[in-house]
Each structure stands twice: as C-alpha cells, then as structure tokens.
C-alpha cells in the first residue's frame, strides 16, 4: 500500500557547509506515483537535496517528510521508505554481486530467488559470482538498480541514473522510471541529461546556487535552462 498524497514533502529546506549555503529555502512536494526532475549546474544543490531526502544528511533548517514520516522524528523508519542511487554504488567491493544482494535480501526478509530475479533483470546473472571490485562503473550502477528492485521503496531517489551506462542501460533506466511511477512510487531524478529526463518525468525543478530558480513541467525544463543561460 503506497502513501496517499505527498510521498515527499520538504518545507523551507536549507543546508549550509561552513559559511556557504548548498541549499537555501527549498520547498518540495512530490506525489506518490509521480516524478520530479532536479536540474542545475554543478554545485547547484541537487545531490545535497537528495541526500537530505534520504536521511543521510541533516538539514540546517527546514522540515522533511518521506512517505508520511518526519525525518526529524523517526529517521530510521523514514530511511527504510527510501532507496537512493548515488554517485558511489554503495556495494562491498570485496564481495561478489550475489553476496552483496544476498546481504540485502537477508536484511529485507526476501528470498534468494528474488535476488536472482533482480540480478537477471539488470543483466548481471552471468557475473553473480564475480567480486564487485572487478566490475566496471556501469555494472556497479546496474547492481545498484538490482538492490532498488529488491527494496521496493516508497520513494526512489536517483542521482545521475544514466551515468556510466551503455545505450542498453539507458533504455533499461527509462523503462524502470516508468515502472516505478506505475507502481505508485515517487521518483526524484537529479541529472544533467535534462532532454532525456524531461521526456520521461512529470515535473521539473531547476536549482541555482541552492535555491529554486524555475518550477514547471519537466518537458519544459530544457527550454527554461537554455533561456536562463542566455
């Protein structure tokens, strides 16, 4: 059963690092089953925002609710409703792909068959017994997607999901984004590939220096960015 209403809700979110503000006064609403494209130049605050929503970074001020859970009140419960694909794969590099997913399945109470199915889905069945340290960056990204498939979270946070992937991987991510939304999950994607993401996602938010610079339909975001550049 997915959360009704807003799956992600952030109010006046700010985060400072020393005397620099990475995020300043961001408000966010994402409904279950809908998707948001986060765009902006390097250092605009996209990754900081995703890490705060995942409960991995505390905001300096502001409030966040994920799937109805207030992060400041029940961080652990909120974290379990979120899956994050970050720049790093979040794998144990000296374990095999199968062992990494076995760890996840045991903690989630899922079965080994689920892990095998997830590995097959991301195209890594033949590399199940290979140590992740020997994987390319793209393969590690695919393994991270396998973990998300097992987690089945309410909120999916993706930081550059197409990064390091081959064309087949691009199509795979496109498919998954549609599936996540169809399953009633809220999806937030931070990427520089705004043309591609704009065609796939519902809403768009352009960040500039940590503050919202533009809000609208995701398909209009590339145009907004080019206008901002000129």
């Amino acid at each position: 059963m997915r959360t009704e209403g807003f799956a992600v809700r952030a109010d006046a979110l700010s985060r400072g690092f020393g005397d620099r503000w990475a995020l300043a006064g961001v408000n966010l609403r994402v409904r279950a089953g809908s998707s948001l494209l986060l765009a902006g130049h390097n250092g605009a605050g996209k990754t900081t925002l995703l890490r705060i929503l995942a409960g991995l970074l505390r905001p300096t001020s502001g409030a966040v609710q994920v799937a109805g859970v207030d992060l400041s009140k029940d961080l652990h419960r909120a974290r379990r409703k979120v899956a994050l694909i970050a720049h790093q794969g979040q794998h144990y590099l000296d374990l095999s792909a199968g062992e990494n997913l076995a760890l996840v399945t045991r903690l989630l109470g899922r079965t080994q068959a689920d892990a095998s199915a997830a590995l097959a889905r991301v195209g890594l069945s033949e590399r199940t017994d290979d140590v992740v340290r020997t994987f390319s960056a793209g393969m590690r990204k695919r393994l991270a997607f396998a973990r998300i498939l097992l987690q089945a979270p309410d909120v999916v946070l993706l930081d550059e999901p197409w990064g390091q992937l081959d064309p087949a991987g691009f199509r795979f991510v496109d498919e998954l984004l549609g599936e996540f939304c169809a399953d009633g999950r809220a999806v937030i994607v931070a990427t520089h590939l705004v043309e591609r993401a704009g065609r796939l996602l519902d809403h768009g938010l352009l960040l500039d220096g940590g503050s919202p610079a533009w809000v609208g339909a995701a398909r209009d975001l590339p145009q907004a960015m080019s206008e901002e550049a000129t």
Binding site: A54, L56, Y92, D94, L95
Partner: protein, 227 residues
C-alpha cells in the same frame, strides 16, 4: 534481543567475517605487526630471562592492543569504501544489530590473534603455562571483548574524521586501561600460577567492564551513525 535483531546481527557478522577472509592479506599484516611488537619487547628488555617471563602477560596484551588499532580501523574503512555503509543504513537494519555484528567480528579476529600470539610469547619470553590454559583462553576472550566493543564504537566515530589513524588510539587507549590492567593481571596469573586464587577477582572485574561496554556502546553507536 529479538529474533529479527538476532538475524540481522548474524547477517552483519557473516558479512564482516567474509570481508575479513577476503582481505586476509590485512590479517597477515596485523599478525606480522603483533609478532614484531612482541620481538621488540623482548629486545628492549634484553637477556633478563626472569623479567621477560614475569611480564609476559603484559607484553602479550600490549601487542594485542597495538594490533587492535589496525584491525578496528580497517573494519570501518571497508564500510566507507564505495559508501557501502550508506547503502546499509537505508535497509531495515537495527543500528544495534549493526554494532553487535561488527563488534563480535572484531572480537573474534582479536581472539584468533591472541591465541596465535600465545605460543610465540611462551617461546620468546621463556615461560610456560603453570596456571590454567582454560583461564588464559578465558582472559583472552574477556579481554578482546573489552577491546572490541569500545573499539568498534570509536572506529565508527573516527573513520570519517581527518587523521582517523591517530584519533582512534588516542580515544581508545585511555578508555580500555581497566580492561588492559585486568586482562594482563589475569593472563599473568594463568601463566605463572595463581596460589592466592586472585584470577577469579580479575575475571569478575573484566566481566563487569565488558557488560558496561557491551550495554552502552550499541546505544551510542546508533547516535554515531545518525550523525
């Protein structure tokens, strides 16, 4: 401890032991470091056989303590590589289960190291076990448990700090002085004999410190992870 928490603890413990086995070059390095440390004590004291034999328990525990810094520090570096710990915290795992899994794995590694160092200590320091082998193993188990619990907590605290290699021993060593003292006394009594039956008192002290560390550290570990 609830059944789900037991299952999570076992899962984390298995993962940590598997990672240690895969990185056994690090274990060999730690063992080599401990052996070199024992030999240095032997050289430093010189050919005074009586002093070497009398303080064998102390040298053994100092070698274990110094080597534990390598092992404890490494256990969290593996979690930070590729941000694996972040992935783990987004899964439904109780922070206390995470602590127990890691701390038991650390204690087991230190225990194995301790057992491996005993025969070498006997040879290097020219002593024998005149007391009780069982007692010696018991003090090794209680002592390594007393090092592993605060060591795991401090390793988590310092792993992301600048100069974590220096921070860990600076924080850990003062805290484990009572453990070191009781473990050294108990081990010495096991080696040299215990005519006054003092070993039981030292074991009780060690057990009390273990109980305090293993009760407090899991609670504090959750706070460390959140921050």
């Amino acid at each position: 401890m609830s059944r789900p928490m037991l299952r999570q603890t076992w899962t984390v413990l298995r993962k940590d032991l598997l990672l240690s086995w895969r990185g056994r070059a690090r274990i060999v390095a730690m063992l080599s470091f401990a052996v070199v440390t024992l030999m240095l004590f032997s050289f430093a004291v010189g050919p005074n056989a009586d002093a070497l034999a009398r303080h064998a328990g102390g040298y053994l525990w100092l070698a274990l303590l110094l080597s534990s810094v390598l092992s404890l520090g490494q256990s969290f570096q593996l979690e930070l590589e590729d941000s694996a710990l972040e992935g783990l915290t987004l899964l439904p795992v109780d922070p206390r289960a995470l602590f127990f899994g890691k701390a038991i794995a650390n204690a087991a590694q230190l225990m194995v190291l301790g057992v491996a160092l005993v025969p070498l200590s006997l040879v290097l320091f020219g002593t024998t076990v005149e007391g009780s082998w069982l007692g010696l193993v018991g003090f090794l188990a209680l002592g390594t448990a007393g090092l592993a619990a605060p060591g795991t907590l401090y390793s988590a605290m310092t792993s992301r700090a600048k100069g974590s290699d220096v921070m860990l021993p600076l924080l850990l060593f003062p805290l484990v002085v009572p453990v070191l003292l009781a473990a050294t006394k108990g081990s010495s009594l096991s080696l040299q004999g215990d005519p006054m039956s003092q070993a039981k008192s030292w074991a009780t002290i060690l057990l009390c410190f273990d109980l305090v560390y293993w009760s407090l550290c899991p609670v504090l570990f959750g706070r460390v992870l959140d921050d």
